[in-house]
């Protein structure tokens, strides 16, 4: 077997990687110690970033890709996949993360966008990408640019799950509405939601997004994680919810178990007991429109 016969970075490989994360919890971490806690708790992957969204909100200023030194340390520390965030449109940050060996790049609205017009052309990369979306059109536009995974945007750093719920219901509902429409009607939908017709047809046929769809943004408790799974999420991202909780180790483990037992209320009650308080959080409707993270990207 010649090594040059190996084909890298194909659509199947990128989307396949995202599929391996299904039913799992991906946790934000800012240093190797947190990464170890996440792995120990049963996270399927970690997301490396400079500061968790709650701290990004507090600190203000420009939020960028994490220090490559920290990303490299996290990669050396854990054996589960390491994802890392790049700014919207900042293809150089993405290239740097790819060269470090990050397993997936999150082109994330949580960081300050670098480009007001364009997202990264993700088809040129070997590494797969995850992007945020609030509705079907936005999700399909990102998939068309090469995203191998979609996550709801929610309102990151708030600990308030309502926006993640809104986005998940919107996407699931819009997919359901495609069923029973004929081709001309689907062409009209594609035009209205500014998405490529091929992807609209594919979603109508599959009755789901063509790639894996995770919940993110405001998930703070085991019950929140289970709620998102009940709404049809393939898995869950947890950011500030773990390391801003009273006891991160217990919270991390409980969230992982909640995702595996999302349809069993008795088990969820048991999992949620005595794990200490969740992150303090803030109601998403107290956020001024100019401070909302979910409106970044389009």
């Amino acid at each position: 077997m010649e090594l040059e016969n190996l084909r890298h970075g194909t659509e199947l490989i990128k989307r396949g990687f995202a599929r391996m994360q299904k039913g799992g919890v991906i946790m934000d971490v800012t240093n190797p110690e947190q990464a170890r806690i996440a792995e120990e708790a049963g996270a399927v992957a970690v997301m490396a970033l400079q500061a968790v969204p709650a701290d990004i909100r507090k600190a203000g200023g420009v939020a960028r890709m994490a220090d490559p030194e920290i990303v490299a340390q996290i990669i050396d520390t854990v054996t589960i996949p390491v994802m890392a965030k790049a700014r919207i449109g900042h293809f150089v940050e993405a290239e740097i993360l790819e060269s470090l060996g990050a397993d997936m790049v999150d082109e994330s609205e949580v960081l300050t966008p670098a480009d007001e017009m364009y997202h990264i052309d993700k088809t040129g990369f070997t590494v797969p990408f995850v992007c945020g979306a609030r509705d079907l059109g936005e999700a399909l536009r990102r998939i068309n640019e090469g995203a191998a995974m979609i996550r709801t945007k929610g309102e990151a750093g708030t600990g308030d799950v309502r926006e993640a719920v809104r986005h998940m219901k919107k996407i699931m509902g819009e997919v359901r509405e495609l069923a029973g429409k004929d081709k001309e009607e689907l062409i009209k939908v594609a035009r209205d939601i500014e998405a490529p017709i091929e992807l609209v047809l594919e979603s109508a046929d599959l009755q789901r997004l063509p790639v894996v769809n995770f919940a993110a943004g405001g998930v703070a408790t085991p019950a929140d994680a289970a709620l998102m799974m009940r709404l049809g999420a393939d898995g869950v991202f947890v950011g500030s919810g773990i390391f801003k909780a009273e006891n991160p180790e217990m919270m991390a483990k409980a969230v992982v178990e909640a995702v595996n037992n999302y349809d069993n209320p008795e088990k969820l009650a048991e999992i949620s007991r005595g794990i200490g308080s969740g992150m303090k959080g803030m109601s998403a409707d107290t956020i001024l429109p100019e401070e909302a993270l979910q409106t970044r990207g389009w």
């Binding site: 077997m1 490989i13 799992g24 397993d103």
Partner: protein
């Protein structure tokens, strides 16, 4: 015929679809059960351990009490298929990474595995693989794939890449380092179904 798929984490629905399509092609009445809790494995005629994150899967099958049930079933001759992460879990021995993460192994196949034997995600690949029981190559998808570095005398090596074993069988246990559930080619699922009909 009841085929159980460990459904804790990973690409479960892809395996469910592939098995259902393979059963349909054969015209066999079969049921596919998703296993997330204890008590279901003993009712199955075959068990599939899908791809996913082996650290997570290993930990949760232990926590949920499924691990011992799979070991018992395998001992009783029930066919077991492990793909990618599943290959790691069926092994008896692991590498340094396996020890580092206190990985729980089921010990069903006398092999030593290396996790991420080909590298990280950017090194993941597709390749056309020759398998002795197929008349043409199989497009195999390797994602952060493991490989078998060392196999005991009872293990049949089915395929290798640069000296690393990527498909092997020991009696009723079949281990694949790649993902037959990610392509429409059902030949490996048919091969596994053949293992059930024999027992």
């Amino acid at each position: 015929m009841r085929i159980g798929i460990i459904a804790i984490q990973g690409d479960v629905s892809e395996h469910v679809d592939a098995v259902e399509r393979a059963l349909c092609e054969r015209g066999i009445e079969g049921e596919v059960l998703e296993i997330r809790h204890e008590g279901i494995v003993p009712r199955c005629d075959a068990v599939i351990l899908p791809g996913g994150e082996s650290t997570t899967l290993g930990r949760l099958i232990e926590r949920e009490g499924i691990a011992g049930e799979i070991q018992n079933a395998a001992k009783n001759g029930i066919p077991v298929l492990g793909t990618c992460a599943g290959l790691i879990l069926v092994a008896t021995r692991g590498d340094e990474q396996v020890h580092k993460t206190h990985q729980h192994l089921l010990g069903l196949m006398d092999v030593k595995v290396n996790r991420n034997a080909f590298g990280r995600q950017r090194e993941s690949f597709e390749v056309d693989l020759d398998l002795p029981f197929l008349d043409s190559p199989y497009t195999a998808i390797f994602i952060r794939a493991p490989a078998i570095m060392d196999a005991g005398p009872e293990v049949d090596v089915l395929s290798t890449i640069n000296g690393r074993i990527v498909a092997a069988r020991q009696n009723n246990v079949l281990a694949l380092a790649f993902h037959p559930e990610l392509t429409p080619d059902l030949r490996l699922h048919h091969y596994f179904l053949d293992m059930i009909s024999v027992t």
